[in-house]
Symmetry: C2
Subunit: 198 residues, 2 copies
């Protein structure tokens, strides 16, 4: 069975987790910063995650005030006024777990009885050694657990990239311009890895 066929049957065995990193990331001058959480990143990536069968969507920020805001947003849509207005949104945002750092993400997965997953970074910059989408799709389809890291700002800092097992190539159409939002890039990457083929 080729990757993408029998998707409904196989969906239960797919083990992809997503982490949106707000620190350490780069700014436009490639300096390491912590970025602010963007409301719509959470909505769009949670909706895409739920649509494609992602298990956990980790929102990673060391700033306690920002973590509290995310918790409030999730509670609003799961339990508050938002839940009465639009139940679908709460279902998606329920994927969110807020973590101070990447090590806490690994800790959370260990708490779910998981070992360290294949940890894969995404990047808008081409690199010499990267993992083709078709290869990762096949490995996911074969049941391998994978944690996919998305960077905010101008992308994941070198100290994150040095910790991962693999880096995916940038998505795009092969042209010179490549300035997708993390919302768009994340959605495209999920589709390349988990999308049906209709």
């Amino acid at each position: 069975m080729s990757a993408g066929e029998g998707r409904l049957a196989g969906q239960q065995s797919l083990r992809l987790d997503l982490a949106l990193i707000h620190y350490p990331v780069c700014d436009r001058r490639r300096e390491v910063i912590g970025s602010a959480v963007t409301n719509l990143d959470l909505h769009d990536l949670a909706r895409a995650g739920k649509t494609y069968g992602v298990r956990n969507f980790f929102v990673v920020t060391p700033f306690a005030e920002q973590r509290r805001l995310v918790e409030e947003l999730v509670a609003h849509w799961r339990l508050g006024h938002g839940a009465r207005y639009n139940q679908d949104r709460g279902q998606a945002l329920a994927l969110i777990t807020v973590c101070p750092a990447l090590t806490d993400v690994f800790g959370h997965l260990a708490g779910q009885g998981e070992g360290r997953p294949l940890t894969v970074a995404t990047s808008a910059r081409p690199r010499e050694h990267s993992l083709p989408y078709a290869v990762l799709r096949r490995r996911l389809w074969d049941g391998e657990p994978c944690l996919l890291l998305l960077g905010t700002g101008w992308g994941l800092a070198p100290e994150v990239l040095s910790q991962v097992d693999e880096i995916l190539p940038p998505v795009g159409g092969g042209g010179d311009y490549n300035h997708l939002s993390v919302r768009s890039a994340g959605a495209i990457i999920l589709d390349r890895l988990l999308g049906d083929r209709v």
Copy 2:
């Protein structure tokens, strides 16, 4: 040459235009409404359009005040303070042409010396007859001009769908939940049609 190979060479001959429709669209009760323009829809879809080599990004709304706001946004990033802060953004937003109605989009394309393109709707709802992504990808790759319609709100109204030549299947992973933002769905659809295969 299969679709997707030789992408750089073929990019010049690809003729895909995008239109984001704010009226007539459906609300959550499937009543026909006009939706408000969302700032981030324009940014995200313009950036994705530029990344994938889209020619024109038409923003369609009958509300004059909304059209004026879009023009101001584009001017800010192309000519104003935004252009000094981030040139990449202005390049993407330069794809935008604001139109009162779909007929004006066809008029604009006719003014560029084009006939009526293959007009293709997108939808989050599965339909009996839809055009597979691989087929449209091939037709685009063969140089056929295509106008892709994205609906805001809860999707394109029946009176739009009755005017199009084809409808694409919903994107997703084959599960029951399918509530992507138009920003995410648009990015995924561009990738399925125009994306490289790395």
